[in-house]
Symmetry: C2
Subunit: 463 residues, 2 copies
């Protein structure tokens, strides 16, 4: 619990997660202003809203959300609704299950085995990328719980305490994983060391150069942790680096870094909460994108959550049987709602529908076209510095007239897009990267609409 | 993170949560044995099953669960299904909501305010028991997340690190709250001190004597934490002491202890995951039972979970606005699935149905009759040492022929009851207390059936 050397650590980033937040000033809409006040009186000050003029949605369908006045918004932000909003495959499956039984996982439920078998089969996904030894699925309710447990397993596996994360990472909201989340935790404990992705700002950097740059960062972090007496328990990384501002290329840039971590005695946890479940188009899991060519990227533990149940709270991790056995020998782990009948039904509906509707292929195709349109737009717009991403996970770096990252300008653009009926958010250590990650049923027409509105906003914004 | 004085702490209890576990030996049923093997290959060794012959349920209704062979079981164990299994109020509400929208809480959702207002109104529940100052509802997905956050708030509020828990407590499964759960965590860290409830084994102890005994225990724990240099951040207690073996009387026994904790600078967290939502019959919250007479018991933070959504993953905490503001000033807190539209719909359906179906009143009436029947049974059965509880939360201490607590005997009885179609579990630091906490629609006929089967098992068991 004690962090004796805390003052040695530099203050971490200003928390950026809430950068897209409502400022609680009057929105100009009496109904909305009333709701905001009511919310403060009931859900309190930690309950931050999006947008200067917060939104109240009545219903959704596919990539669309409809507010209570009937206005529709193109959702280019919400990755939880991976199949699209209110997808009947999930609502039907959950409804049918709740009418039958929804109990905990201390009773047998064959559907859970079937789901686990199908999910574990995605680890190789048609390519010979290697397996975890005897991988098993442990279900939780949230990605935070999954990362919390993944870190406990890493501590147990290594006997070490130090953790390496990217410099604007977000890994969840429990007491433990909040502390490995520089984008949320203001003062990192000294058992956490960070690495920068600055070298990857332009995606055309040669892979050997990218690998060397990241390896150098990781080596520095390892040395920091060792000098503080913690050793290295884990490198935990979201392989799309969502919160850092989306760093997807060149593929393979993490492999040498992971080798360094293993050399130092640590494990590699792939946090797939953001890139998992087909979003990056090129693979079902984000880490698998980096497994091509001669150097496979093999995690020791894989965690996931957000899109897993299209909004039903279900998450989990995959870990080797022997590590789970070591934990079971030491202490119990039970999660009341995790792996319940309804959670399995929701997760199965999502997994099946991703396949049936070809959503990974759509993420690849439509994502590539989307990215190309954004790159073309950047050619005529100096406010866009760079475009990065894979599949339907794209980051757009914005700069002001002086060529500098500008969180306030980014916020203006996000709020202007909201006025234009487009939902989007920000990320990155400067809070100046647009984070685009729509439902995977996003179409070429949706791309055209987004580009048209985005061009309009960029040409009219006061920078 | 470091626990320098760890060796000073005595080893905590042998984990007892899994005492009611399947031993993975052959059940004598080929279908079940196959499923157990399949489960080990997919969900792994942390995935512990109940009963020597594990059960596979197909559906449920009210207090009944039906296995895949059509046999029915009376559920006297599962408190999550507070309204009864597959209650249409919840399945209908969730189904309707999933068909419309199920998004996160960064958008306005008036239904969430309405629910919060109704839940916050239960804090006084018709009695003048005092309020937290400006209480607010923070929704999470699980009770573990709620307790994890509650403890973070306690650390923030007090600047101290020490935590006091009962000696067989269970407060959840995150890295942090696992360490304040002696029933799960084998080696408690030295920032945790425990207190015993042994003085309350017989419910007829006079209240002043009970208060003095618990206060003495708490004073000892406070001194332990101070001597280790941690100070006192919190006393966290489940006011029905489920995991300790159910200690419900005499009401008021905690008040002096809480005074001592406040005197030492700590806060009182009421963990209502088990007793909350009308189960104890006498009040909506377990802590309110102890608030009668001259000494109100007023928590600083209230956490809850299990029954809140009748199985839909929803949980939360209630804390004062100023404490939440202090947290918001320091760092963000966001929980992707918490307070989603469907979570609110499920929680609202549960809260409304508890009122409409008079479940608190049923818990009081039927629970009192159930307890009386058990006390009567105890008169003729030496294996029952004592019966404790409130409403539909009852603990039955079992002893062997030598008058000693006997976990193996208790396990035999639990498994024999399962053979008789009755579902039940164990608790207590010796693993020798039957834990009875059925759905709150449990009827007098259900009580009669339970007593009849229990009598049969007690008279035929090999002790």
């Amino acid at each position: 619990m004690s962090n004796d050397h805390q003052d040695d650590n530099p203050p971490s980033l200003k928390p950026i997660l809430d950068q897209n937040a409502c400022d609680f000033s009057a929105s100009g809409n009496l109904h909305i202003d009333g709701l905001v006040q009511e919310r403060l009186q009931t859900l309190g000050p930690t309950s931050v809203l999006f947008y200067r003029k917060p939104l109240e949605f009545d219903h959704g369908q596919g990539v669309w959300l409809f507010d209570t006045d009937g206005n529709r918004y193109l959702d280019a932000y919400n990755n939880v609704a991976v199949l699209g909003h209110a997808h009947p495959a999930v609502s039907d499956a959950v409804a049918a299950q709740l009418q039958k039984i929804n109990s905990h996982s201390r009773y047998l439920n064959k559907a859970g085995h079937t789901y686990a078998q199908q999910l574990l089969a995605t680890l190789s996904a048609g390519e010979d990328c290697g397996f975890l030894p005897d991988p098993r699925l442990v279900m939780t309710c949230t990605g935070s719980e999954a990362n919390d447990l993944a870190l406990r397993l890493a501590f147990l596996a290594t006997g070490a305490q130090g953790v390496i994360v990217s410099e604007a990472a977000y890994h969840g909201n429990t007491w433990l994983v909040n502390q490995i989340s520089p984008s949320s935790c203001r003062q990192l404990p000294d058992w956490v060391a960070t690495f920068s992705l600055d070298a990857l700002q332009q995606e055309d950097i040669p892979v050997h150069q990218a690998m060397a740059a990241i390896r150098e960062e990781i080596t520095r972090a390892i040395n920091t942790l060792k000098s503080r007496g913690y050793g290295v328990a884990a490198l935990i990384a979201d392989s799309i680096f969502s919160s850092d501002g989306v760093f997807a290329h060149p593929t393979g840039f993490l492999t040498a870094a992971v080798d360094e971590v293993r050399e130092a005695g640590g494990v590699f946890i792939a946090d797939e909460v953001q890139p998992g479940f087909a979003r990056t188009g090129e693979a079902f899991w984000g880490y698998l994108r980096h497994s091509q060519a001669q150097q496979p990227l093999q995690p020791d533990i894989i965690s996931f959550g957000k899109p897993m149940g299209n909004g039903y709270p279900v998450a989990g991790l995959i870990a080797p049987d022997n590590l789970l056995q070591a934990m079971a020998d030491k202490e119990g782990y039970f999660n009341t709602f995790a792996g319940s009948h309804a959670a399995v039904a929701a997760a199965q509906a999502v997994l099946t529908t991703i396949g049936m509707e070809g959503l990974q292929e759509n993420a690849r195709h439509t994502g590539a076209a989307f990215k190309q349109e954004l790159i073309t737009l950047a050619d005529s717009c100096p406010l866009i510095r760079s475009v990065r991403g894979a599949g339907l996970f794209i980051g757009v770096d914005l700069v002001n007239a002086h060529g500098e990252p500008d969180a306030e300008l980014t916020s203006q653009i996000i709020n202007a897009l909201r006025e234009q009926g487009i939902l989007i958010g920000a990320a990155g250590k400067h809070g100046s990267t647009l984070k685009i990650r729509p439902p995977l049923c996003f179409s070429q027409d949706n791309v055209a609409l987004f580009i048209s509105r985005f061009r309009h906003v960029l040409t009219t914004i006061h920078s």
